[in-house]
């Protein structure tokens, strides 16, 4: 019988690259207050509700998000399994309608910001100084179109530059995704993902106990001050995902 953690990861990896699937799972487990080493079957319902809160940050399209949660939900005891767990996991997401019973679906809607609308503005692969500038420009342009004023445009562009530069300086390869948030509130999300060595102690960096020669600590702490929300998921060897959001006031 495959490990429950592996099964959940398998379901998530149909939607994300492996490194990011792990980051998403960790983030959800943390939100759900669950043990992040080993998931028991009885934890699954808690995990599903944690995922419902976490996933909007990662999967913008509500339909696709529903599918992804449906896949994890099906791992719960008593839920009909769409596929035997031994079937090969497709690397590319398979489109299928989520089999959530009607009464469940409505309760899901109640918890999940299901009216949460968003639109991907673009992805910049970060491998050179030029890409940093591109991420910065894309963030500014998206912020401007959303109606942010010049000062906030500048803050948002600075954050994109900061996050992209961290990828360039510390990992050398990664992605910056810019998303326009629309419902319930308009805003912008900048997500920086890499699969590098990770930050050993995020808390230390954010508290100001760590300061690198190139000023990374300052950059991340500064980023937090410029945005409304900042979420960092990192673990040694497993890469780093930073999600920063700013909402229109």
């Amino acid at each position: 019988m495959p490990d429950t953690t592996e099964e959940v990861l398998g379901a998530l990896s149909q939607y994300f690259p492996a490194g990011i699937a792990r980051a998403v799972l960790r983030s959800a487990l943390r939100r759900g207050g669950l043990d992040d080493e080993r998931i028991e079957e009885r934890d699954l319902s808690e995990l599903v509700s944690a995922l419902e809160r976490t996933l909007p940050m990662y999967i913008v399209d509500p339909e696709r998000r529903g599918e992804c949660i449906g896949k994890v939900r099906r791992l719960m005891p008593g839920e009909a399994r769409a596929k035997p767990p031994s079937s090969p996991r497709p690397r590319v997401a398979v489109r299928e309608s989520p089999r959530i019973p009607a009464d469940r679906a409505s309760s899901v809607d109640a918890q999940l910001p299901s009216n949460f609308g968003a639109r991907a503005a673009g992805v910049v692969r970060v491998r050179s100084a030029r890409d940093v500038v591109q991420a910065c420009d894309l963030a500014r342009e998206t912020a401007r179109k959303l109606g942010f004023f010049l000062l906030d445009q500048t803050k948002i562009a600075t954050v994109a530059s900061e996050l992209a530069r961290n990828i360039l300086l510390y990992v050398g390869d990664g992605e910056v995704r810019i998303t326009a948030l629309e419902v319930p509130r308009r805003g912008i999300q900048i997500m920086a993902v890499d699969s590098g060595a990770g930050i050993p102690d995020v808390g230390l960096v954010m508290d100001g106990g760590y300061r690198s020669r190139t000023g990374m600590g300052m950059g991340l702490r500064g980023t937090k001050r410029l945005m409304d929300e900042l979420d960092i998921e990192s673990r040694p060897g497993a890469g780093t995902t930073v999600v920063a959001r700013k909402l229109l006031s």
Binding site: A129, L150, Q153, S161, R165, G222
Partner: protein
Amino acid sequence: MSIQEARIPIIGLYSNLIVPIQGAIADDVMATLQSEVTQRIKDSDVKGLVVDVSGVDTLDSYLTRNLRDLALTARLMGVSAVVSGLRPAVAITLVEMGLEIPGVHTALNLERALELLRAAEDEEARSWGEAETDRA
């Protein structure tokens, strides 16, 4: 905004060096700039350096640090350095991030920066003069 691909110009004006930075700065350009400016300082009779950033719309922590290093390096070589033309939105963002640039003189614009350099030069001349008078 376009990326500054070419080298950033270093303009000699009387005994000052003026470095106007426009647009987004790629890191390698910044590294080249530092070595070129210090070379010019060493080779010619330079008294002041102005780095004008009025054409820059985003400064992150890394570029800010580079800018500060450039100014402090010049100062260590005996050259007064001023950063001028920081845009309001950029200045506010830096302060909010906690990235003030201590030890670096700043000026509203290029004109004020040159005035500042001249005042510094006059001050230096006066203190020399006083030293000479004392000796006499």
